[in-house]
Amino acid sequence: MPEIKVTPLGAGQDVGRSCILVSIAGKNVMLDCGMHMGYNDDRRFPDFSYITQNGRLTDFLDCVIISHFHLDHCGALPYFSEMVGYDGPIYMTHPTKAICPILLEDYRKITVDKKGETNFFTSQMIKDCMKKVVAVHLHQTVQVDEELEIKAYYAGHVLGAAMFQIKVGCESVVYTGDYNMTPDRHLGAAWIDKCRPDLLISESTYATTIRDSKRCRERDFLKKVHETVERGGKVLIPVFALGRAQELCILLETFWERMNLKAPIYFSTGLTEKANHYYKLFITWTNQKIRKTFVQRNMFEFKHIKAFDRAFADNPGPMVVFATPGMLHAGQSLQIFRKWAGNEKNMVIMPGYCVQGTVGHKILSGQRKLEMEGRQILEVKMQVEYMSFSAHADAKGIMQLIRQAEPRNVLLVHGEAKKMEFLKQKIEQEFHVSCYMPANGETTTIFTNPSIPVDISLGLLKREAAIGPVPDAKKPKLMHGTLLMKDNSFRLVSPEQALKELGLAEHQLRFTCRVHIQDPRKEHETVLRVYNHLKGVLKDYSVQHLPDGSITVESILIQATAHSEDQGTKVLLVSWTYQDEELGSYLTSLLKKGLPQSTS
């Protein structure tokens, strides 16, 4: 039975380091290639030895697909393609292709420069890796080779995140990556059509969470900013160029307008240029609201938000500043942080996850004395807050997606084994599909039932329809025909037509069997005895005595002759065609038992 094999190399039953291997109809695809953010050693990379033992990766894998630019989905890509070795195609969406190298380079800088690691990929490796990338558009069917095709769907979550459908013939798998079913301020909700894949691979990180409403989070964020500004403090918000930054800007702008606040809000210029550039490129990836504002005015021409100048950081009085990079590990945001950290009236709000080793991570873990370059100790007196607006699907969202796509099987990754049992049962009960939760390195085999379309000739159809009762639409009907396979098409025709088309002559097979019977009487009396006997036994069959002295049972012929040497023995010749084999052999064994002793 055809099967699809799935092996998570990472994110089987834990969060981080997503990397899933899928084998479908002889094709091998790697889904995501992520880094585990919590580890510093080899455990942060997926275990590629599982594949490499099968030979060269480029020969084994048909393609690699990256769902979005978060490091736990693409962080190990340069390591994989340049250090382990892979030269095949890597597919991702356009925004992902644009943003990935930036994040990878940032990450490389932190790991090598700050932490002093040596066995890590280089800047050149990142560049070489990106050369192998083929960018795809949403809903565009991409032929990887003659049989394998992939298609990207909108996933929400972050800019450029996509869910991918992988199809070979009529078997297909959909991989969701990280997705979100509720739209937020700058991204839409994930969407997929009723593609009915054999398997849906979904993340379940937030399946057990019942999230606090967005409004409450936003309200609390604004409250904190407001409080800080009211008491004369400064608020620093380190952001990555895209995504949440826009949301927060819109939020603050609206709030400032409503409350008639006067404190200045700044956005660092480097950020503005980059962000503008990306948004112009990828405007279709955002939601309606953002697109409208972009059309009406420039993304960053807010009434209350101005461009930042380095000197402003020293200005007295309250202000809010958005600066890069997002984890406070270098650059402008770190500079501002150092200036403001000593004052307890100030606040820094971290909008997302920070990698270990960065200042952002340290202060979020509670560290208040930081060692800077030149052995300088920085005392952090400013308030540190963390706020996550990151969007993942919860249990309700997962059920929604399954309802949209209608897969035949579901596989969950990214969650903890014990905590996914309830969700597994929930999915199985509601949708009557099987739900799997493999661990890292564990292979799950899903059996598929591909349907093979066959054309049937009209003649055969008419003939079969004429026999027997009207076929029930829901029950399979058994029919006899000949299957002709030519090129890639299958046709079912009647045997006669098949012979005609192929120019073959039909051969008839006829079997004849001799049965000896002890009967001293004349032949025609023996025949009568046989006839009466058979007529009595085979009540459901048509038994006839023909004028020429032979007996027919259906289409089987029985003739009696005298034995050449022994007059007391009669020889019955039982003859039947190949089609009547069953009846023929039954008759023969019946006659071999002998005739009843009775008066004829």
Binding site: T209, M387, A395, E421, F422
Partner: protein, 355 residues
């Protein structure tokens, strides 16, 4: 408000129960089956002493869940065991479930406590008390009140009564006394120390016919004896009566709440005392609001009382039909924190400021 958090459950609930002060349980009540019983871990902010605004963990987490074919109308944890019991239509039996959060995240159905002549009876009301491990007081009518020892599956008390009047609520006052409230407002007291006992009826307040009532008692661990805290009753017309069970002939105090005329009946009427605020109680079930009252200023005239706080959150959310608050529950330790759920699936946790 000092704090307000809004959450959305996949299905609306009409039960909110605390388990040991650190877990909250909710359950669906849909008629079509497939209801989920969810044991939730509240966000740390709800468990900590100070409220934090931007705490990284702000969400409820589903710790474990179970599936119930029946709608769950009432749910109680069985003290000192890892079991909980639920009840709901179509009859008055109880379903017993096992919660073992460390081993698996599935709440398993283990048994049913059947009751005599259960078919066709209204759903059972349930009460437990931490002083009596494994005891569950349940019944749907005055003549079907009993206490079952859940682990041994034994009946330890049956009330001797021939009156088939429907029960609106029941509760333990302490480890030897239980109070019962009929749907029409009548109160009865039972001594549960003997396996069989008669019910002692208390004089009823003069209430117009047709009203339906519900019962609210203080947490039975506080105080000693049945008179420590008055018993509150709420009628579907908004009349609140406080009764001291030692002097039950006259209500201790009463007041009328300003509520809209009852629409869908008294399905979700709920009144409860605040565990940490003396004299405060909350009512809900009339519309999308929860009212909090300070009863210390009440007298026995039944005048209209002003609530000291009204939570309107459920009524404001959403654009469709107005939501009806199905249940509310006080936080066991934090004095002014209340959880409330509504028919649109929303779950609010709010902390108000004393005016």
């Amino acid at each position: 408000y000092r704090d307000l958090h809004t959450f959305e459950l996949q299905a609306p609930t009409r039960v909110i129960e605390w388990a040991g002060g650190s877990r909250v349980c909710v359950a669906g009540y849909g008629q079509a089956g497939g209801n989920e019983i969810l044991q939730l871990i509240p966000p740390p902010a709800l468990q900590a002493k100070e409220t934090q605004g931007l705490c990284p963990e702000r969400d409820f987490k589903v710790e474990c869940g179970g599936f119930s074919k029946r709608p769950v109308y009432s749910l109680k944890y069985v003290p000192d065991t890892s079991l909980l019991v639920t009840s709901g239509p179509p009859d008055s039996s109880l379903q017993v479930w096992q919660v073992s959060a460390e081993d698996s995240d599935v709440i398993k159905s283990v048994s049913t406590i059947a009751t005599e002549n259960a078919m066709g009876q209204p759903w059972a009301k349930i009460a437990t008390i931490s002083a009596r491990a494994s005891w569950v007081l349940h019944g749907s009518t005055l003549d079907s009140i009993q206490i079952t020892e859940v682990e041994l599956r034994k009946n330890v008390y049956t009330a001797g009564s021939l009156d088939g009047e429907e029960l609106a609520g029941l509760a333990f006052l302490d480890s030897s006394t239980a109070v019962l409230c009929c749907a029409r407002g009548r109160l009865c007291v039972a001594d549960v120390r003997q396996p069989r006992g008669a019910l002692q009826a208390l004089p009823a307040p003069a209430a117009p016919c047709g009203d339906r009532w519900c019962l609210g008692t203080a947490c039975a661990t506080q105080g000693s004896g049945p008179g420590a805290r008055p018993v509150a009753r709420l009628s579907s017309r908004g009349l609140l009566t406080l009764t001291d069970l030692r002097k039950a002939s006259e209500p201790l105090a009463s007041a009328t709440a300003r509520v809209p005329s009852p629409s869908s009946g008294a399905e979700f009427l709920c009144v409860s005392w605040a565990p940490a605020l003396p004299g405060c109680l909350a009512i809900s079930g009339f519309d999308g609001t929860v009212h909090v009252y300070d009863t210390q200023s009440w007298d026995s005239c039944g005048r209209e009382a002003e609530p000291i706080f009204v939570h309107k959150g459920h009524a404001l959310d959403g654009s469709g039909d107005p939501a009806l608050v199905t249940v509310h529950m006080w936080h066991p330790q934090k004095p002014r924190t209340v959880l409330s759920a509504a028919s649109d699936g929303s779950l609010h946790v709010w902390d108000w400021v004393q005016p």
